[in-house]
């Protein structure tokens, strides 16, 4: 029994967050600080004919105005954060990354054209109106399917078409499996775009100290170390001259990964040039236009089955919208490919995608990152197949789940980490049973639903299964130091955006060192404190950083035991660590505090044995062989108002397995957050672009986020723990879990509630309007 790991421990960081003491980027107010406003394009596709910033430069209070021309050699397309997956044979990938400021052509609405630096943000924004910009509008590529049609306008003039990538992967032989099939079900399925909509928009403050030749950047990034290394390279500085700090961040959700967005590249450059601190805080409208987005796929998918509902194969051919650029490689569509077979045993799988450039904001992972699309396609196929075969939706799923003795299971497709997707462990039938029992599936279908329907209520039930590939490499690290006070400091490279790192990582340390969780001081996201690692994404914090912390803590524990054994003249096996003390197990009075040990480990006089490392400190790293696979089953009961088509979620059950739980409270919180994002994706959050690629709902008045009242009154979470064999703690990720299955289960439950013959929902996000239209179309 663990003392700390797995316990419901309240979060260390919450008192600071709840009392307004936590530092966010916008809290910084440095002496002499200047402010930035960007002139952004009102067109999605246009040629830049003339740009005259002279009047803006003359406005009092304006310090500088920069255009692409002013950047000189610093103007260059941003880095490719994730390379093309050349491990997949025949892959086509055309790299086109974002540019800092528009030089010749605007490729998406809101693309920055010029930047104004002024004494205040007000002055900077006023000066934007002084800029004369002549844009010659071009026909925009707004529709994903039309983007690849012959004769479509080109987003990148140097390419022959808007094709950004093409990937084909196959496990087994689908064509052959299809021949043997009793039933083949084919559907066209569409998933549209949404925003990440973090509560805190992006923000950057950069400060150059000319005397020490040192640059400090505070950035709302999920990955401060890659940003530091990248900026140093671009600016021609040593990595040690650049410090990137990611302080508290109000939600990351993907677009804050190591993006090197234009503002991130420009603001440090300006700070060095002007030798003044520079601040830019994105406003909400900029966030809609200038922060990356996701989803946006059109699938032609089919499933081949035997008469008794056993899957013989799945074929999925889809288009993926990458927007104007593709700085994040193929992570999103690859995730879709590895999630279109889910927890089912699919012996034959053909999957092919084409990625298209469009005149929209570029697409990079947003919580779920391609997985929700794969799960939506798969679960819709399962529902359609169940109908075709006259099987119960739960039964068809049960018949196809990968059995518990089949792990590690080869999914057979190369994933976002360029490794064959392999499921490490799991018990899917047990999860399904837990969800079915908890929601009372049988009773609802046989008793409650008929009774409620007789009373005129449109109630329905849905159930969806999913997996979440997570905890991918390459590695993370941690340094742990026991201080003279007996308190422990942990420094790690991952950034934190609300995940509870200050607590869950502290619990891992506390478990090894026998100290109170509150006595572990956690430092994340500061490259001056720890500068090896990648960042927080792909649901990998608890797995990769967590196990690095575990490794470093184990090494510190060994040091503690070795030294204490000498001092207490007792063999190590007879010592125990508890309450900040090392004690002889049978004689608790014979003990020494960790603080005293730390002092003894760092002698100020005399000599030490050769090879001695000072202090009770250790640094260690962890990198898994391949990513872990978490899993879950969600069940939902909804009621639809047939007049307004508003949907009320009556019950929501989540049976989830993310291996060893570090802190159930935090895991629940992660699931809750993910669910609300999934509910948004299912019914509220859709970015609506017109035929000119103008974003028509670029404000929170019109882009609807689910509110607390749109969430179900009670979320029932059942934890199942199947430890991952890939890491010592047995952990798996949970950060994206909630967001992944909700669109799939939501539409299934809504379809079931409306019970309209011919109604089949093959798209998300829905809305009351859209649902009404679909019902009308089904009745015709």
């Amino acid at each position: 029994m663990n003392k700390y790991i797995g316990q419901k421990i309240k979060r260390n960081e919450d008192p600071r967050l709840l009392t307004g003491q936590a530092m966010f980027v916008d809290d910084l107010d440095l002496p002499g600080m200047l402010h930035v406003a960007f002139l952004r394009s009102d067109y999605a596709h246009a040629r830049l004919n003339r740009l005259d910033v002279s009047a803006a430069r003359r406005r009092p209070g304006v310090v500088a105005v920069y255009t692409a021309e002013d950047l000189g050699d610093y103007w260059r397309p941003g880095p490719l954060n994730v390379p093309a997956p050349h491990a997949i044979k025949g892959t086509i990938f055309h790299r086109r990354t974002q540019v800092p400021l528009v030089k010749d052509k605007v490729r998406y609405l809101g693309e920055p054209i010029a930047m104004v630096i002024a004494e205040s943000r007000y002055l900077a924004e006023d000066a934007l109106t002084d800029i004369v910009v002549e844009l010659d509008p071009l026909e925009a590529v707004a529709d994903l399917e039309k983007a690849l049609a012959p004769g479509a306008p080109l987003v990148h003039d140097d390419l022959d078409s808007n094709l950004a990538a093409h990937v084909v992967q196959e496990k087994g032989n689908y064509a052959e499996a299809r021949q043997r099939a009793d039933v083949v079900v084919r559907r066209r399925i569409v998933v549209d775009r949404g925003a990440a909509a973090a509560m805190e928009n992006r923000g950057i403050v950069a400060s150059w100290d000319a005397r020490s030749q040192h640059l400090t950047v505070w950035d709302t990034t999920q990955a401060p170390i890659p940003i530091r290394n990248g900026l140093a390279g671009m600016l021609g500085l040593s990595e040690h001259q650049v410090r990137v700090i990611a302080p508290f961040i109000g939600g990351g959700f993907g677009p804050k990964i190591m993006m090197f967005m234009p503002e991130e590249i420009l603001i440090p450059w300006v700070a060095i040039r002007l030798k003044r601190p520079i601040k830019w805080i994105e406003d909400r409208r900029e966030n809609f236009l200038a922060t990356s987005q996701e989803r946006g796929q059109v699938h032609e998918a089919e499933i081949a089955l035997t008469r008794d509902g056993k899957i013989l194969g799945i074929k999925d051919v889809f288009l993926h919208d990458t927007g104007a650029y593709n700085p994040y490689g193929l992570t999103v569509p690859l995730n879709t490919q590895t999630h279109t077979t889910g927890p089912y045993d699919v012996p034959n799988h053909y999957t092919e995608f084409k990625v298209a450039f469009t005149n929209k904001m570029y697409v990079t992972p947003v919580r779920g990152a391609g997985r929700p699309q794969g799960v939506f396609v798969l679960e819709r196929l399962m529902d359609a197949a169940a109908k075709e075969l006259g099987l119960d939706p739960v039964e068809i799923r049960r018949r196809n789940l990968i059995p518990p003795d089949a792990f590690p299971y080869q999914q057979g497709i190369i994933g976002q980490d360029f490794i064959w997707q392999s499921y490490d462990s799991g018990n899917y039938p047990a999860l399904l049973n837990k969800a079915v029992t908890a929601i009372g599936y049988e009773r609802f279908v046989k008793e409650e639903q008929p009774r409620l329907r007789a009373a005129g209520k449109r109630v329905g039930i849905g159930l969806a299964c999913f997996i979440e590939s997570c905890g991918v490499g390459p590695y993370e690290g941690a340094r742990i130091t026991v201080e003279a006070s007996g308190k422990v400091t942990l420094a790690t490279g991952v950034g934190t955006q609300g995940q509870g790192h200050f607590t869950s990582l502290a619990q891992i340390v506390a478990e090894q060192l026998g100290v109170d969780v509150r006595d572990v001081h956690v430092i994340t996201g500061d490259t001056a404190e720890f500068h090896w690692g990648t960042g927080t994404f792909a649901s990998r914090g608890a797995v990769v950083a967590g196990n690095a912390v575990h490794a470093a803590a184990s090494r510190v524990r060994s040091k503690i035991l070795k030294l204490a054994s000498q001092l207490l003249e007792t063999p190590e096996e007879e010592l125990e660590l508890s309450n900040g003390q090392v004690r002889v197990a049978d004689i608790p009075a014979r003990s020494i505090s960790l603080g005293e040990l730390a002092i003894r480990a760092n002698p100020m006089r005399g000599s030490v044995e050769p090879g001695t490392e000072p202090g009770l400190e250790a640094t260690d790293y962890f990198g898994p062989k391949y990513g872990a696979t978490a899993s879950g089953v969600v069940a939902m009961i909804v009621e639809v108002d047939p007049e307004t088509m508003l949907v009320e979620i009556k019950r929501l059950v989540v049976a989830h397995d993310c291996g060893t739980l570090l802190n159930p409270l935090i895991v629940d919180g992660q699931i809750h957050g993910g669910l609300s994002m999934g509910i948004g994706n299912a019914f509220y959050e859709q970015l609506i672009y017109d035929e000119n690629a103008q974003l028509l709902n670029a404000s929170l008045m019109d882009y609807l986020l689910p509110r607390s009242t749109d969430m179900p009154p009670d979320i029932e979470i059942i934890h199942q723990e199947t430890p991952s064999p890939l890491n010592p703690l047995g952990t798996k990720g949970v950060g994206e879990a909630g967001a992944i299955p909700i669109p799939a289960v939501f539409v299934q439950a809504v379809e079931n509630a409306l019970a309209e013959p011919g109604l089949e929902i093959l798209e998300t996000p829905l809305s009351p309007n859209r649902l009404f239209e679909l019902v009308q179309a089904a009745r015709r």
Partner: protein
């Protein structure tokens, strides 16, 4: 955005045609017009103050008349740009004489909008532009009546176009009507009603104070 509709002018076609060719009459009919200058027989240039929901600002642009078949039909191309975005549209106007001496105007158009106007003002633009058009046409019709009366009586024309405040109130009423159509947005009606009440109270107070 597609615009389509018709309007009945209480006067002969030739008089309506002349009215629609008069930049001063047009400028007066569109509240917020700061200036409208005739550049050539078919081209006007001007500046207009527009407020659509939360988006307000000055737009400068051009109006070009083409395909003219006096006094029957013409095409109008409008292009406006401002700090808040842009609008670009083409409209076709067709005038036909009615048996009772009135003139029926049929119009169709296609408008593209962009920038903040589209991103933030989108939800209001349909109602506001319809309202704007309706009021402009009503004002033009009044001017037409005044002109016709003046011509018979042989005196100078006097018409008072609606003030900014009258215009704003009319827009608010139209927005309210749209909102009232859906029972779910009853709260919106109440909210707008409250806002109007506050504005009125504010006006009264400011007058008392002044």
């Amino acid at each position: 955005m597609k615009i389509e509709g018709e309007y009945l002018f209480a006067g002969p076609r030739q008089a309506v045609w002349e009215l629609l060719s008069d930049p001063e009459a047009l400028a007066a009919a569109l509240p917020g017009t700061k200036r409208l200058n005739k550049l050539s027989a078919t081209e006007y240039e001007g500046e207009m103050e527009v407020r659509i929901g939360p988006v307000g600002g000055s737009f400068t642009g051009k109006v070009i008349r083409s395909n003219e078949i006096p006094p029957e039909s013409c095409t109008l191309t409008v292009e406006g740009r401002g700090a808040q975005g842009f609008a670009k549209g083409t409209g076709h106007i067709q005038l036909s004489e009615q048996a009772d001496g009135t003139t029926l105007m049929k119009y169709t158009g296609d408008v593209q909008i962009g920038g903040k106007l589209a991103g933030v003002g989108q939800r209001m633009i349909d109602t506001v532009s319809k309202s704007l058009l309706k009021q402009a046409l009503e004002t033009l019709n009044q001017t037409l009546q005044a002109r016709l009366a003046a011509a018979t009586e042989g005196r100078a024309v006097e018409t008072a176009p609606p003030s900014q405040a009258e215009f704003a109130t009319a827009v608010a009423k139209d927005v309210l009507k749209t909102a009232a159509a859906s029972p779910k947005s009853r709260w919106l009606v109440i909210a707008i009603g409250l806002v109007i009440a506050f504005v009125v109270i504010g006006l009264v107070l400011s007058r008392l104070g002044g």
